[in-house]
Symmetry: C2
Subunit: 591 residues, 2 copies
Amino acid sequence: MNINQRLSHLRDVMRREHLAAFIFPSTDPHQSEYVADHWKGREFISGFNGSAGTAVVTLNSAALWTDSRYFLAAEEQLKGTEFQLMKLKIEGTPAIAEWIGRECGAGAEVGIDGWCSSANEVKALIADLRRQGGITVRTNLDPLKVIWSDRPAIPENPVEIYPLKYAGEAAHDKIARVRKALRAQHADGMLMSSLDDIAWTLNLRGTDVHCNPVFVSYLLISSKDVTLYINKVKLSPEVEAYLQAEGVGVAPYEDVQKGLKDYFEYNILLDPDEVNYVLFKSVTREIVEAESPVKRMKTIKNDTEIAGFRSAMLKDGIAMVKFLKWLSEYAENSEYSEISVSDKLEAFRAEQPLYRGLSFDTIAGYGPHGAIVHYEATPDSDVPLRPEGFLLLDSGAQYLDGTTDITRTIPLGPLTDKERRVYTLVLKGHIQIELCKFPSGASGTQLDVLAREVLWREGLNYLHGTGHGVGAYLNVHEGPHQIRMEWKPAPLVAGMTVTDEPGIYLAGKFGVRIENTLLITPYKETAFGRFLQFESLTLCPIDMSPVLVDLLTSEEINWVNAYHQRVFDTLSPHLSPDEVAWLRVACEPIK
Amino acid sequence: MNINQRLSHLRDVMRREHLAAFIFPSTDPHQSEYVADHWKGREFISGFNGSAGTAVVTLNSAALWTDSRYFLAAEEQLKGTEFQLMKLKIEGTPAIAEWIGRECGAGAEVGIDGWCSSANEVKALIADLRRQGGITVRTNLDPLKVIWSDRPAIPENPVEIYPLKYAGEAAHDKIARVRKALRAQHADGMLMSSLDDIAWTLNLRGTDVHCNPVFVSYLLISSKDVTLYINKVKLSPEVEAYLQAEGVGVAPYEDVQKGLKDYFEYNILLDPDEVNYVLFKSVTREIVEAESPVKRMKTIKNDTEIAGFRSAMLKDGIAMVKFLKWLSEYAENSEYSEISVSDKLEAFRAEQPLYRGLSFDTIAGYGPHGAIVHYEATPDSDVPLRPEGFLLLDSGAQYLDGTTDITRTIPLGPLTDKERRVYTLVLKGHIQIELCKFPSGASGTQLDVLAREVLWREGLNYLHGTGHGVGAYLNVHEGPHQIRMEWKPAPLVAGMTVTDEPGIYLAGKFGVRIENTLLITPYKETAFGRFLQFESLTLCPIDMSPVLVDLLTSEEINWVNAYHQRVFDTLSPHLSPDEVAWLRVACEPIK
């Protein structure tokens, strides 16, 4: 069944239900960024498989909104369908409600599955559409139940215990901290819906979502009880016993709405950006609308988690060095492609202890593919590597003791002046973040420009964020703190991880991105308060051969040399003599 | 009557009205930053005369919240009163609602004059206090009517026409643009309440507020009519005829509430941050809640206004150079004080054509007084200048063709190493803003760190904004765009003015601030969009004698030299040979 046939089936349902449009966001009932196949409804209806995007289908038209990371990929994937690409944050792109208003006219009714959008999203949509001549919204229909005949089931994969020696804090202690935070917000309980928050709180992990070690469930905390809503087939006797010992009861996944209706305390904290609209509306008690306190707790790593990150980064660095050495020696013979080098890198990582898989699908973009920000090579798109230009390689792994995320842009041979210049400017932006110091409580929005200013001076820019939090054997994207142009009030605090990944993408030509994962650590305390700094957790040389050293300041040169010295000192005891020799050259000081 | 007697009178009223607390914000019915004496109720009740602060009086306690600019001044002024100083943005300072909750307990009722707070402020206060155990808010009582026996009247000063040769756009054309903007927001009309917005729209000016050339009034725009609510005694026959010719009707100031009740169209745009709570609640039609479109229009200067700014800045630069030369020659004899040098500077400015007065009270802070961010020398606090250390001098003027705002930190003799270092770092921060380039639509929040990062590296910071907009012969503080740490989404656009004024304040020691007023101009257009840059409008040398030149980058040195070259070339044709000789030395290139 192709996309246009699916649209035709959908429109049959829409006509029957008198709906002028149907909206398909990219998420699941838990507001996950990456979702189990069961919830890939937007991909099913549009064919676009990026992690972010919203499809809207009217009786006569169809459109898909996505952000700059996916412009090129979406254009490719929407070819031959009815879908029109709507580029977010580009001048002239209509807002979804505005477009629906134009396409459907006043008084229409449109549908969205209230389970698969947050309360805030649906509330904003209702308000925006009301302003479009009084368009109304229906939230209790999931047309995919009818039109998606071979829809995958909700995953039933087993859950495993995440040992205390990696987690560093027992589940019952975390629950006690959550309850304390709830009391500070005058709340008696909360519904936890984010899968990584639940995994973190209970020290459990799963395999329900590709690359994200989470499991499908809800967690309802009251002042007396903690109930995990989960399909019991996922729980071994050992896990059941563990949950009981930690004071956590278990109920069927489908019963969460009933659990909320039966919740008997005075009030309940719900994060309206996290809890879906249907569950939000199911609550009969007073709602304390606030950000879930778990989000912030989870992002501030404890000492055990930080030690785990260092261990994971050491292993990841070893794998990267083995890979880069291999690539530098063998790439020239042209037998390798984007997919085969990705596989090779994966194989090097898989050799490392505690390896559990990738933390996201490797982005290996050669030449013009490097300019597709979230490119994923497929057998159709895969190209052989040639001994020239850049290979942009953004990859990461899940180890039981930590999660990694690293991007290197690798010169495979001669480069153009433009390639060298852009590479140097991106590196300068990267280093400015590495070097910066800031007051505790500053937000990533404030720091973002430090990576961009050097690019803006040349009229260059990138439209993605500069950095995101990274989980501790959890999701590779972890919020709410970020470094980005958009306002993110979440303060930066010591113990948080965050990536530093500026880039420049010249469509049809090449892309450059240089990414380390950083840890926020104390810098100094003065009469003006506590100040923080970044420390690179990532241990992997950054190729200096493309760099126009004249464009670097002495401070930037010093950073490169100190970083490479640390990379060499830390990794070389774990490498073969050949590998050490290669690394020594890669880490040679520049002047 | 001293403060404690005033409090006692207030508490009599509170007890009679069964109010547990009364809140005195710093503003007037128009949300003015600086207000006519009639509305200085917070100063009356607390004695604190800063431009920003909120006093709260309970039956047994009193507290005043203000920001870091005023910490030292407020401490001084609250001495000997019951008032406790609450330092905003300092860890441990309670929010106002939280404090009231603690002091007054659940179920209490507190008062605030609904005329003198914006709709949003009162709505937020009501919500915050409801969460403090259900504290309620009464908004229809102004106890100052009873307890302030010699309260000054609302000003009746005459209004004058602002000639088209300075305004650059006729009032009826501005009104047409406002109406077009209203239609784009699906609004039939609006109530304009900001005094500078009304002055800008009508090309009128007044003298009702110290240093701000505005006049007390409201402007109600419908799709057919424009009505100015104003005390008619302020209008000469000439102004009345002008208003009639521009299509503007006139009604008594007191009738605005009636005007709103009689407004007959379908809906009306009200900016809930601008319109006061009482007027907001008086509206019977549908309200379009949105930022007033006038704010943004007013901040983007037209070519005539920009030419006026250049003319005003030239005159201001001439006055500053004459003053700096005078100070450098005569300050050593110790006969001058903070007040007398302020008066001297004012006299130099008053010699310039089209001079209309100061744009704000001069801040002349010598030595430790320089660390009081918004210090104003009084006969009590005034100190003689000695031939050592820094004089921080923040001043500006109103000329008929433009408004100026400039800060120079002037070494009066030998400096300590610390003084030199701090001066150099502040200068570096200042230059980083001058140099930066940014995409059209970036916000000031994004750029702010460029001024701070060099300070943060040394554990220094300042808690005020880096910059604010400046009006065209209007208020010296003009929003909504700003450069500051807090999120201000208002995008920066070519044609806006904004100051660049980082500083460092070491309490009890000294303060350094260096400020130019900048104009935003186009930089370049690339595949990544339109980019903007800053151009210094201010023309006045920055003293280089305190600078540790080794700490400057070559880019920063080049900026200093190019700026000084431009200052010299632009000012010297208007100066005497002696003054030119002085300026030549002051503008000498550094290396």
